[in-house]
Amino acid sequence: MRFRPDKLGVVIAALALCGVLLAPFSLFRANRIVPGEAKSLLDSLPAWAGLLLLAAVIAASLVALARSPAVVRLAVAAVCLVALLLGIGLAALHLTPPENSYARVSPASGFWLLCFAFALLAADAITRLKPKPLARILFLAAALLVIAFVLLSGSWDELSLLKEYANRAETFWLEAGRHVMLALGSLLAAVVAGLPLGILCHRTPALRGAVLNSLNIVQTIPSIALFGILIAPLGWIALNVPGAAAIGIRGIGMAPAFVALFLYSLLPVVANTVVGLGGVPRDVNEAARGLGMTDSQRLWRVEFPLALPVILTGVRIVLVQNIGLATIAALIGGGGFGVFVFQGIGQTAMDLVLLGAAPTVLLAFVAAIVLDALIDMNAKASNRKTTA
């Protein structure tokens, strides 16, 4: 019988071999801003660990190539990812000369390629397992626990990323709080304002075109331009409306960032509310009226539950979009993880950029998975109106 490799497995194995053989595993620099010296996998680690990791990568590539069961693929991917996370920490420990607090060791392209390859393997295996929404959240929780364990165990303490963190531990959590506040707060405001607006647009078609077109125009304004546009009116409000300045409304800072994110969030929320309500089958609405429901009973008992999966999809778009966009808020003093990104760019310190970017990506990823799971649970509960 001829050996027929798994198609995605070929890609994963190729990525993994590139990551091991061609690309450097880590980058060693004498201090945080000089150009670095690339180190291969075997150079980065003590011999025993290097060989072990190499063996693991090769074994995992073979598993990926073979048409192995999804559970095996997932287990192998998970083991490799954990080994990689521990490995990069060990590389930092191994490469940093003793008593040297200036040297920096950071992950290089090989590490990222390997992470990508095995994350792909894990994601593909999870997709093949078709887990229920709750199971997907459990997978996510397990992954977060591993990351938390690696961070708290101190095995990454010598890594450049954590050295940057150690210097800014206090501001990091402050900016993290601001970032979440900006992304979630503006989303909450957009839902509070957007839902009634969407319902209104659904009920009065004349309003629908005007509102959706205006929001579309807002959506096309580049974010930096929108921040700029908002400086003048918010500055005016701060000066002329009593009490406005006291609650933090100013031309720059968090207020314009919040308002801009809110405006960007409105379109997906309003548009999805309109589409969701519009998708409620005609005969279902007709029956609800004919059975004697009042307009508000019909809205809350029939239209809204049936539209909810579509509305939640809009919320998911907004949340992931906001977590990313909130990074830009740092430009106008709004805070958030963007502070580190822009400081890092200014100082050509890529580790600092990473300190801002990595948590942003992680946050967006977690938000997407949790909301997708919620949407699926809800769609299951409402039993997909299309099949009725």
Binding site: P281, D283, V284, E286, A287, A288, R289, G290, L291, G292, M293, T294, Q297, V302, P305, L306, A381, S382, N383, R384, K385, T387, A388
Partner: protein, 312 residues
Amino acid sequence: MIEINTVTKRYGANTVVDAVTMTIAPQTITVIVGTSGSGKTTLLRMINRLVEPSEGTIRIDGEDILAIPGYQLRRRIGYAIQGHGLFPHRTVAQNIATVPELLGWDRARIDAKVAELLTLFQLDPAAFGNRFPHELSGGQQQRVGVARALAAEPNVLLMDEPFGALDPIIRAKAQDDLLAIQKHFGTTIILVTHDMDEAFHLADKVAVMDKGRLLQYDAPAELVLRPATPFVETLIGAADRPLRLLSIAKAAEVVEPGAAEGEPLSATDSLRDALSALMWSGRETLPVAGEDGTILGHVSLQALLQRAARPQ
């Protein structure tokens, strides 16, 4: 009793229902027939105020419906539509419980009613109560739709082409079920259809509408024997007249004393079915059995032909 008095509905310059007057006797089935755009559905929807009349009054048991808020009126009137309109996110039991819940019945009474209706519609409450509508067949969905309309024990049931989406075999069964249900509850039913066979099968009285006007409102036999306008005659189908007459009478009405050979007919079979059985068996007469199986007598081909002939 439902009294519809010179009811008119206009949309702009367009008159959809034009000065319709009719009185519907309690505990009867009235079928409104007509072509598409004849205004039959609009007339039906004015009875539960889904559409507000432009002119005229409608009284149910003497009470002007405009005196009652629309949603409260609709909770007292059953309503079943084509394609059933079941709520896809609620179980069969929750769907049926809709109106009782709106009326604030207590849980025990609602549960008992749901179980009673499911049983009546030949759906096992334990097996079907917790299913979702998309898990049912078309015929089962339609039955749940009618059960939901009857849940609050309305005196009046409005049905807008309720069997339109069903295949012919399930439709015939659904029609027979409806007749049985109507007998069981004594509900006054007003049903809209464009299917004349359905109208003749179900109706105590038929209302024929065309271009918003009520052309004739009569017992089915009168429609065949004395059509008010050429349109009524066309709608019934000139060629079908004798068969229509046979289809609205029962075998019991033409039973003659005496024995006969062959498979007995049931006393409740229509004369049309009796004629069909006679022709197929090639006999001149067939015995007729009562509900308990005793032979009541026989029907003859001759008697049927007389019934089907135009009255002199």
